[in-house]
């Protein structure tokens, strides 16, 4: 395509003039020196991250972040992000770590570096009882909502038959509202989220229709931050063994943590 070549050339010139960012190989040193670590907090993603009764962030991933900062001996700064910004927040150096139920995928691993997993989740299709969906084939003709930059965004289109109307929202908050207000027939999301919603809004009669994929999620760092990743991996290892991670997970999800494979 002619036009795109021209645009690419212009863009390349722009890129050259803008230059490029600096390295941050000593991320861990900096964090220890500043006595502060910045970790992403996604608060519209129950039970991983929510606003508690007092409207303070909580949830399994937020508590994991708190525990990690405590063990590192530094102050925790929660960087509130929407789901779509978990990775950009790292890449644009707005956060040191992403601890926001970020499933480990080979696609994402091209952009960020993952630690060993510290939790597991399954992506499902969920919706009201009245909507007849039993398997992927039933998605045809239905409007299915999901949030951008999620595992469901990657996986659901692969199993959806032609004629499925998939619509994307920028964040879970909007996706959930779309489900609850009937703007979509069903949504793709973590199973926990559907269970949480059905408990909080029993009148909507929400249920899990079927499981799309299961995944492990880990802690992500910006590529290049070897020292930080190394420390995080050690931390995950220690807290897997002493049961702290399992306890946080079970407290918030109500489900026993499965055996986590090492990476």
């Amino acid at each position: 395509m002619r036009l795109s070549h021209l645009l690419a050339a212009g863009a390349a010139v722009l890129a050259l003039t803008l230059g490029s960012g600096a390295a941050d190989a000593q991320a861990l040193d900096r964090i220890l020196k500043d006595k502060k670590i910045r970790i992403t907090a996604q608060v519209d993603s129950a039970p991983f991250g929510i606003l508690g009764k007092d409207n303070k962030p909580t949830g399994s991933e937020i508590e994991t972040a708190r525990q990690l900062a405590k063990d590192l001996g530094v102050e925790l700064e929660l960087i509130q992000v929407s789901g779509a910004q978990r990775i950009p927040a790292l890449l644009s150096d707005r956060a040191d770590l992403a601890i926001s139920s970020l499933s480990i995928t080979s696609e994402r691993a091209k952009s960020v570096w993952f630690s060993s997993p510290h939790g597991a989740l399954s992506i499902v299709i969920g919706g009201p009882k009245s909507v007849n969906i039993k398997s992927a084939a039933d998605l045809a003709g239905k409007k299915i909502g999901m949030s951008r930059a999620t595992l469901e965004e990657q996986e659901v289109p692969k199993i959806a038959p032609p004629g499925t109307n998939i619509v994307f929202f920028d964040e879970h908050a909007a996706t959930q509202q779309a489900l609850l207000t009937g703007q979509v027939d069903a949504i793709g999301s973590a199973a926990f989220l559907i269970n949480d919603l059905s408990k909080k809004a029993p009148d909507k009669q929400l249920e899990v229709k079927f499981t799309v994929v299961t995944a492990y999620y880990g802690i992500a760092v910006k590529p290049g931050n070897f020292d930080l990743l190394q420390w995080v991996n050690s931390w995950v290892f220690v807290n897997k063994h002493n049961g702290v991670l399992a306890k946080i997970y079970e407290t918030h999800t109500g489900v026993k943590l499965v055996d986590l494979p090492a990476m």
């Binding site: 803008l18 230059g19 490029s20 960012g21 600096a22 910045r38 608060v43 519209d44 929510i50 606003l51 009764k53 409207n55 960087i79 509130q80 992000v81 929407s82 910004q85 950009p88 890449l91 644009s92 150096d93 707005r94 920028d170 964040e171 879970h172 908050a173 909007a174 959930q176 509202q177 609850l180 207000t181 909080k200 809004a201 029993p202």
Partner: protein, 221 residues
């Protein structure tokens, strides 16, 4: 099940504070930038004018959301470690600077040409002409549209919610999610914005009508 009550309302009010703070900081910084842009825009040097015009065209010709995304995602790539607050403030200040620059340029140029000529004949330098003769007159004309723009800026801060910045709109979304009562939460959020903006709008209208009356009296003399 949680319902929308005083606790949730207080959360919205608390978040509204950030809407106000962001608006004011962006307005102050954008004002400083806008003043500079306005002066550059009326410069007698063509390249200077072109830079200022280009800046205005760029920010008035592209969506605020894109400007926000670019600053938010972009600055970090160049080794600038900014927290979300700083990034958002920079984006809004740049946006406000473009609009205020253009508004104020119009106001400066609304001062009759003869005023420049008269002050020049008094052997005032360019900056003196601007400072003692032109700007005092331009400021009077500029106040109503400037207050009007402040309303636009307050409303524009809602867009920051899209990048996860917690202000009134984002708080509304979170509360709507916590209570499952969007039919209550969003109208309340809208009402809170209205409470912020309407007095400003009325003030701008009032200032404008007073200015118009003043101008009419001036002509009658």
């Amino acid at each position: 099940m949680r319902t929308f009550s005083s606790n949730e309302f207080m959360f919205l009010l608390g978040a509204m504070r950030w809407t106000v703070v962001l608006s004011l900081i962006a307005f102050a910084l954008g004002g400083a930038l806008g003043g500079l842009i306005a002066i550059l825009r009326i410069s007698s040097l063509l390249p200077v004018r072109l830079v200022a015009t280009g800046y205005i065209q760029l920010f008035q010709g592209t969506p605020l959301l894109m400007q926000l995304f670019l600053v938010y995602y972009g600055l970090g790539l160049f080794g600038l470690r900014l927290d979300a607050w700083t990034a958002v403030v920079i984006a809004y200040a740049a946006y406000a600077g473009a609009f205020l620059g253009e508004i104020w340029r119009g106001c400066i140029q609304a001062v009759p040409r003869t005023q420049w000529e008269a002050s020049e004949s008094l052997a005032l330098s360019y900056l003196q002409q601007l400072r003692y003769v032109i700007l005092p007159q331009a400021v009077r004309i500029a106040i109503p549209p400037t207050v009007g723009f402040l309303v636009q800026l307050v409303k524009a801060t809602a867009v920051a919610s899209i990048i996860g910045f917690v202000e009134l709109t984002r708080a509304g979304q979170l509360m709507s999610n916590a209570t499952f009562q969007p039919m209550i939460v969003y109208p309340v959020v809208a009402a809170l914005y209205f409470v912020l903006c309407w007095p400003l709008s009325l003030w701008a209208q009032h200032l404008e009508s007073r200015l118009r009356v003043g101008a009419a009296i001036g002509r009658a003399k």
